[in-house]
């Protein structure tokens, strides 16, 4: 089931198209307008977004942060996740071979669909993943219409 959280549906052609777009974006070749809120790949934390009929789910893969100090705000349909990941203290007697992990302050924004209910949002942090669940309005949920 988590496959659906992590993989993207679509045909081979749409994958190739996406790859092409990524290259174009990377080299600044793209004449097509990109989303004004699209981010560079490799940003911290990585974000996945999914929809269910009753909610919008945002997953931020942010290991090793103090969840109580993360700011999650929702304003005019834009969800902002901001915080700081403190670098561990390294004593001067040890030498570093690799330093690939990201530290420092981070801020990422996700624009949400129009049908969300900003009053019903909850966030949890587990195993280094911050999950923000935003309910969708009743009116946006699929309804069965009876035929007269």
């Amino acid at each position: 089931m988590y496959e659906s959280m992590l993989s993207f549906p679509g045909s081979l052609f749409s994958e190739l198209d996406r790859l092409q777009r990524d290259f174009d974006d990377l080299f600044g070749l793209s004449g097509q307008p990109a989303s004004i809120r699209s981010a560079m790949p490799g940003s911290f934390p990585a974000i996945n977004v999914g929809h269910t009929p009753i909610s919008v789910e945002v997953y931020a893969f942010a290991p090793g942060i103090d969840a109580s100090k993360v700011d999650v705000t929702l304003d005019h349909g834009v969800l902002v996740i901001a915080g700081e990941r403190k670098a561990p203290e390294v004593d001067d007697k040890s030498s570093t071979y690799r330093s690939e992990r990201a530290f420092g302050s981070f801020r990422r924004a996700v624009s949400l669909p129009d049908d969300i209910d900003p009053a019903r949002v909850y966030a949890t942090y587990r195993d280094g993943v911050l999950r923000v669940s935003i309910a969708r309005r009743e009116s946006a949920q699929p309804q069965r219409i009876s035929v007269q």
């Binding site: 659906s4 789910e57 969840a67 690799r98 195993d127 280094g128």
Partner: protein, 127 residues
């Protein structure tokens, strides 16, 4: 038919062929050993597998689902459900005494050096 079966048996039982994300790591060394820190967000303790085979250390972790019923992905930066990375250990490291800790998606491994590989202070005799 028999041939097919033997071929299938020869396939390693592990999931080494599946694609996986490369977790980001920091590696530090001090006098008594190495410390490896790996970012594995989404991996709970029971889905983490650490293996030492010969001189190779393998870290593998599966991202556990936190997904509600009927979730449809609309945007994904993390596109694979597992992490995997291998390291070669050198001889002075004591692979039998690796200490592992996983908290908030960060794995901390402490790999000690054999006692005889730790640096000793050699006193200089003054005549």
């Amino acid at each position: 038919m028999n041939e097919l079966q033997t071929q299938a048996q020869r396939q390693p039982a592990s999931t080494d062929d599946t694609r996986a994300l490369l977790p980001r790591v920091d590696v530090l060394e001090d006098d008594t050993g190495l410390t490896l820190l790996a970012d594995l967000p989404g991996v709970p303790r029971d889905k983490l597998e650490l293996k030492v085979e010969g001189d190779t250390l393998q870290i593998e972790g599966e991202i556990a689902p936190q997904t509600p019923e009927g979730l449809e992905p609309v945007y994904a930066e993390l596109r694979l459900p597992r992490y995997r990375r291998r390291f070669t250990l050198s001889r002075e490291l004591d692979a039998a005494h690796i200490d592992a800790k996983l908290a908030d998606g960060v794995l901390t491994l402490r790999i000690p050096k054999h006692a005889d590989a730790q640096p000793r202070r050699i006193a200089v005799q003054v005549h």
